[in-house]
C-alpha cells in the first residue's frame, strides 16, 4: 500500500466523527502540529492478549504530551482503556468503522492474537446476545485500515502469551494476518512495554513523513537498528573485559545473563521515563523484552547464552 503524505492526510481528514470538528484539509505538510488538529487522523486501538502496559507506557509520553496527542494530533475513536463509550455504543464504533470505506484509519493492536478455543480466550464484547472475539473482527478491521501498528512484543511477535506451551494459540498480528491472507503493512513496535517515543515517533512519521524505513522484521529502523549492547553505558566494561560476577556489581552484565547483545532497541540512548534510568544502568540488566525471541529464546533470564548464540543472532 503506497500513499503520499498529502493523500494520506487528506484521507484521514475525511473521516471525522463527532461534533465540533472542522472538516478542513491540511493545506501543507509543513504546517505546525496544531494545524493537524483539523485533519485528526483516526486511530482505532484494539487490545488482545495484553496487560495494558503499552497503553500505560504511552500515557507517559513527554513530547508531545498525551493531551496534545488526543486533542491536536489524532482522533482516538476506539480505545478500551480511555474511551468514554462502553457496552453497545462502544461496539457501534467498530460497526461504523467497518462501514467506512478503505484506508481511512490507523489500526493499533496491543497484545497478541489468541487463536485457540475458537478465539474465545479474548472476547471483545457482546452484540445481539452473541459475544464476538478479537479474531472475529481483526481481519476485517485490518483489511480496511490504512496501516497497522503492532505495539508491544505481544502484538509484534507473540510475546509472553506465546511462551511455551503457548496455551491459547497466541501469535503476533503479522503472523495472524498472513494466515488470513491479508496483505497490509504491519509496523512492529516491540518492547514490553513499548517506549512511548517509539509509538508516537512512528505515528508522527506516518503522518508527516510517510512510512518509516523498516527492517527485515518490520520494525522502524529509526528505533531498532542497533543492539542495546552497541550503545550500552557499560560497553566500556565489556571492552575492558571487566565482567560482573554477581548482581549489583560494577562491570558488564553479560555473564549474568544480560540480553543486550541479542536485542535491538535504543533504550541505552533514549533511556526510560523521561530519561531517569534504564534497565542496564539500574543494574537489573536487559532481559531482551524487545527481541522477537522473548521470552523463550532468551530464557532463563539470569543465565548467559552460549557464545555461538551471540554470533548466530547477529541480525536479530
Amino acid at each position: 500500500m503506497k500513499f503520499t503524505r498529502r493523500e494520506f492526510l487528506k484521507l484521514c481528514g475525511s473521516t471525522l466523527v463527532g461534533a465540533g470538528i472542522s472538516r478542513v484539509y491540511l493545506p501543507e505538510i509543513a504546517s505546525a502540529l496544531e494545524s493537524v488538529a483539523y485533519g485528526h487522523p483516526s486511530v482505532i486501538w484494539l487490545q488482545g492478549a495484553s496487560d495494558g502496559g503499552c497503553s500505560l507506557s504511552l500515557l507517559n509520553t513527554a513530547h508531545p504530551k498525551i493531551s496534545e496527542l488526543l486533542f491536536k494530533i489524532i482522533s482516538l475513536r476506539y480505545h478500551p482503556t480511555l474511551s468514554t463509550a462502553q457496552g453497545n455504543i462502544f461496539n457501534l464504533i467498530l460497526e461504523k468503522v467497518k462501514e467506512d470505506s478503505i484506508d481511512k484509519y490507523i489500526l493499533v493492536v496491543e497484545g497478541s492474537i489468541q487463536t485457540a478455543y475458537g478465539g474465545r480466550c479474548c472476547i471483545l464484547g457482546e452484540k445481539d446476545n452473541k459475544s464476538f472475539t478479537l479474531i472475529d473482527v481483526l481481519g476485517d478491521l485490518a483489511y480496511k485500515s490504512n496501516v497497522i501498528l503492532a505495539v508491544g512484543s505481544c502484538s509484534a511477535f507473540g510475546g509472553i502469551p506465546k511462551g511455551e506451551p503457548n496455551p491459547t494459540g497466541a501469535m503476533g498480528v503479522k503472523e495472524f494476518l498472513e494466515e488470513l491472507g491479508i496483505e497490509k503493512t504491519v509496523i512492529n513496535i516491540p518492547g514490553c512495554p513499548a517506549h512511548p517515543d517509539w509509538i508516537i515517533g512512528t505515528l508522527i512519521h506516518i503522518l508527516f513523513y510517510g512510512l518509516p524505513e523498516l527492517d527485515f522484521l518490520h520494525r522502524p529502523k529509526l528505533f531498532f537498528d542497533k543492539t542495546i549492547h552497541e550503545n550500552c553505558s557499560r560497553y566500556y566494561y565489556f571492552s575492558e573485559r571487566r565482567f560482573a560476577s554477581s548482581l549489583g556489581e560494577e562491570g558488564c552484565l553479560i555473564n549474568l545473563g544480560c540480553k543486550g547483545p541479542y536485542t535491538r532497541a535504543d533504550c541505552s540512548l533514549r533511556r526510560w521515563n523521561k530519561g531517569v534510568n534504564w534497565c542496564v544502568e539500574s543494574g537489573g540488566m536487559c532481559i531482551g523484552c524487545c527481541s522477537p525471541n522473548f521470552p523463550d529464546g532468551l530464557s532463563p533470564i539470569y543465565s548467559a547464552l552460549p557464545q555461538d548464540f551471540f554470533l548466530s543472532q547477529e541480525r536479530v
Binding site: 482522533s75 468514554t84 534497565c279 537489573g284 521470552p295 532463563p300
Partner: protein
C-alpha cells in the same frame, strides 16, 4: 417483566470485562461479571527457571506490575529461605508506593470520572451514555483540566518507580536477595522531590475533587454496598531499624474482625470455563473448557470460609481502622483517595531510613527445591503468589489477585461474587443507558488482566509454607 441489560465490554479498566444484569422495575435483580480474556500464565511459568517468574508475572498486569514483581520475589525468597537487607525492602516499598499512587490517580481521573463528568464532544469522550451528569458547565471544565493535569502526575509516579526500578511499567531491579539499584543522594532527592509534587496534587486537586463528587452524587453512598465483608493481607514498612505495620492483615465478615488464616481460602470453578475432571484435580491443573454448561467467565471463585470477600483500598482501610464512614460506591472512592495520603506519608518516612552505602543485595545459592508464598497489598487489594520448585524448575505457580476476589462469579452454593452482589438493588433509570451499573462496577477498580488465573483446585493452598 425483568429486562436483561448487557454492558460488554465495560471499558475504562484494564483488560476485558463484560457485565450482564437483569432489571425489574428499574432495579437490578441479578448480575453476572464476565471475565473475557484468558492467557494461562500458570501454564507458561511451569518448567521455567524460578527467577524468570520475577519478570513474567509482572506482565500479568501493566497497571500493577510492581505488585506482581514484588509478590513474586517475596514468594521466591520464602521458598528459598532468603532474607534481603532492609535497604532492599525499603527500595521495594518505594517502587510499590509509587506504582500505587499512579494506579489510584489513574483510576479516579481517567477511568472512573467520565461516568460523572461530561468530557468534550470529541473522541475518545464521544460517544457516551446519556445520564445524570450533575456538574455545572464550569465544573465539568475544571474536572477535565484536572483529567489532563493528572496525566502529568501519572508520568511523575512512573518516573519515581523507574528511579529505583530501571523503567516503568515493568521494573528490572527487584531480584532474589534484594535489589540491584543502590541508594544515592541524587536518587533520593529525585524521588522525594517528585513525591512532594504528587502530595501537592493529592492535597489541592485529588482529595477536593473526590469530595466534590461525593457531595454531588451523595445518593451513591447508599448504592453498591455488596456484602460488606472484607479481606486484607496487610503490609509492613521499614522505619528506622524496625518494622512498622502500615496495614493490618485480617478479615471482616458479618461485622466481625478475625485474624487471617490462609488455609481457609478455597477456589472453585462452577461458573468458570474450566473442566473439573478427576485427572485435572490430580495434576492440579484445570483445563479450559469453553463449552462448559452454565459457565460465563474465565475468572474463578475464591472463597474464604465459603464467603465472597471484597478486597481493595476500602477493605484494608476498614480493617486497619482508618475508614469507617460506610460501604458504598462513594466510600470506595473516598477510601482510595485517603489512602494515597497515607502512602505518601509512609514513603517520606521510609526513605529517611535508607542507609546510603549500606547493602541492597545479598548473594546466595538458589536451592534446587523449595516451596513458598508471597503476599502483599496491591493497589486493588490482597495479592498472593504461590510457588513450588523442583530440580531448579517451577513445577507449580499460582496467583490469586485482588480482582479475582472482587470479580469472582457465582459459586456452587449460588453465592454471588462481591461485585455481582454490590450490583443487586442498583437503580437503573434508563435501560438503554445503564450508567448506574457502570458506576458501581468501576468503584471496585476492576483489573481483568490480573483477575484471570488458573490455579490449584480446592484445598491445596494450605500445603504451602506461609511467610
Amino acid at each position: 417483566m425483568p429486562v436483561k441489560i448487557v454492558i460488554d465490554p465495560l471499558t475504562r479498566l484494564e483488560g476485558h470485562l463484560g457485565i450482564e444484569v437483569e432489571v425489574d422495575d428499574h432495579k437490578v435483580i441479578s448480575a453476572r461479571c464476565k471475565g473475557n480474556m484468558f492467557r494461562g500464565f500458570e501454564f507458561i511459568l511451569k518448567g521455567r527457571a524460578p527467577q524468570d517468574a520475577l519478570h513474567i508475572t509482572q506482565r500479568i498486569c501493566g497497571v500493577c506490575s510492581a505488585s506482581h514483581g514484588c509478590a513474586s520475589v517475596m514468594c521466591l525468597e520464602s521458598a528459598f529461605g532468603i532474607v534481603p537487607p532492609d535497604n532492599a525492602k525499603i527500595i521495594r516499598n518505594l517502587i510499590l508506593g509509587a506504582d500505587c499512587l499512579q494506579s489510584h490517580i489513574f483510576h479516579f481521573y481517567h477511568l472512573a470520572i467520565l461516568d460523572y463528568v461530561l468530557g468534550p464532544d470529541i473522541p475518545p469522550f464521544l460517544p457516551r451514555y446519556k445520564g445524570d451528569y450533575r456538574l455545572s458547565k464550569s465544573m465539568n471544565r475544571t474536572f477535565m483540566e484536572h483529567y489532563l493535569e493528572a496525566f502529568k502526575i501519572l508520568a511523575i509516579a512512573h518516573e519515581m518507580r523507574a528511579i529505583w526500578g530501571g523503567k516503568s511499567p515493568h521494573h528490572v531491579t527487584v531480584v532474589i536477595g534484594g535489589v540491584t539499584e543502590k541508594p544515592t543522594v541524587d536518587k533520593i532527592t529525585a524521588y522525594v522531590w517528585r513525591l512532594r509534587q504528587i502530595r501537592e496534587f493529592i492535597d489541592s486537586v485529588y482529595l477536593p475533587d473526590v469530595m466534590t463528587i461525593a457531595k454531588i452524587y451523595e445518593d451513591y453512598r447508599s448504592i453498591g454496598r455488596g456484602y460488606g465483608n472484607f479481606l486484607a493481607y496487610g503490609m509492613e514498612n521499614i522505619v528506622g531499624d524496625s518494622k512498622k505495620t502500615m496495614f493490618r492483615s485480617g478479615v471482616y465478615i458479618k461485622g466481625e474482625y478475625k485474624s487471617l488464616d490462609f488455609s481457609r481460602i478455597r477456589e472453585e470453578v462452577t461458573s468458570s470455563w474450566y473442566r473439573e475432571k478427576r485427572d485435572d484435580l490430580k495434576s492440579g491443573e484445570f483445563q479450559p473448557d469453553v463449552e462448559k454448561e452454565g459457565a460465563y467467565t474465565w475468572i474463578k471463585a475464591p472463597r474464604y470460609e465459603g464467603e465472597a470477600l471484597e478486597t481493595g483500598p476500602l477493605a484494608r482501610m476498614w480493617i486497619n481502622g482508618d475508614y469507617s464512614q460506610g460501604i458504598s460506591v462513594i466510600d470506595r472512592h473516598l477510601a482510595r483517595a485517603m489512602e494515597t495520603k497515607k502512602i505518601v506519608d509512609s514513603l517520606e518516612e521510609q526513605i529517611k531510613s535508607i542507609k546510603i552505602g549500606g547493602p541492597v543485595y545479598k548473594k546466595f545459592e538458589i536451592p534446587s527445591f523449595g516451596w513458598g508464598a508471597g503476599f502483599l497489598e496491591a493497589p486493588r487489594g490482597a495479592l498472593g503468589h504461590w510457588i513450588r520448585v523442583r530440580d531448579s524448575k517451577i513445577t507449580h505457580y499460582e496467583v490469586i489477585s485482588p480482582s479475582t476476589w472482587n470479580l469472582s462469579p457465582q459459586d456452587s452454593k449460588g453465592r454471588l461474587g462481591p461485585v455481582e452482589k454490590a450490583l443487586i438493588g442498583t437503580p437503573v433509570v434508563d435501560i438503554d443507558n445503564p450508567i448506574e451499573v457502570a458506576r458501581v462496577v468501576r468503584s471496585f477498580d476492576p483489573c481483568l488482566s490480573c483477575a484471570v488465573h488458573l490455579i490449584k483446585p480446592n484445598g491445596e493452598l494450605k500445603k504451602f509454607r506461609i511467610v
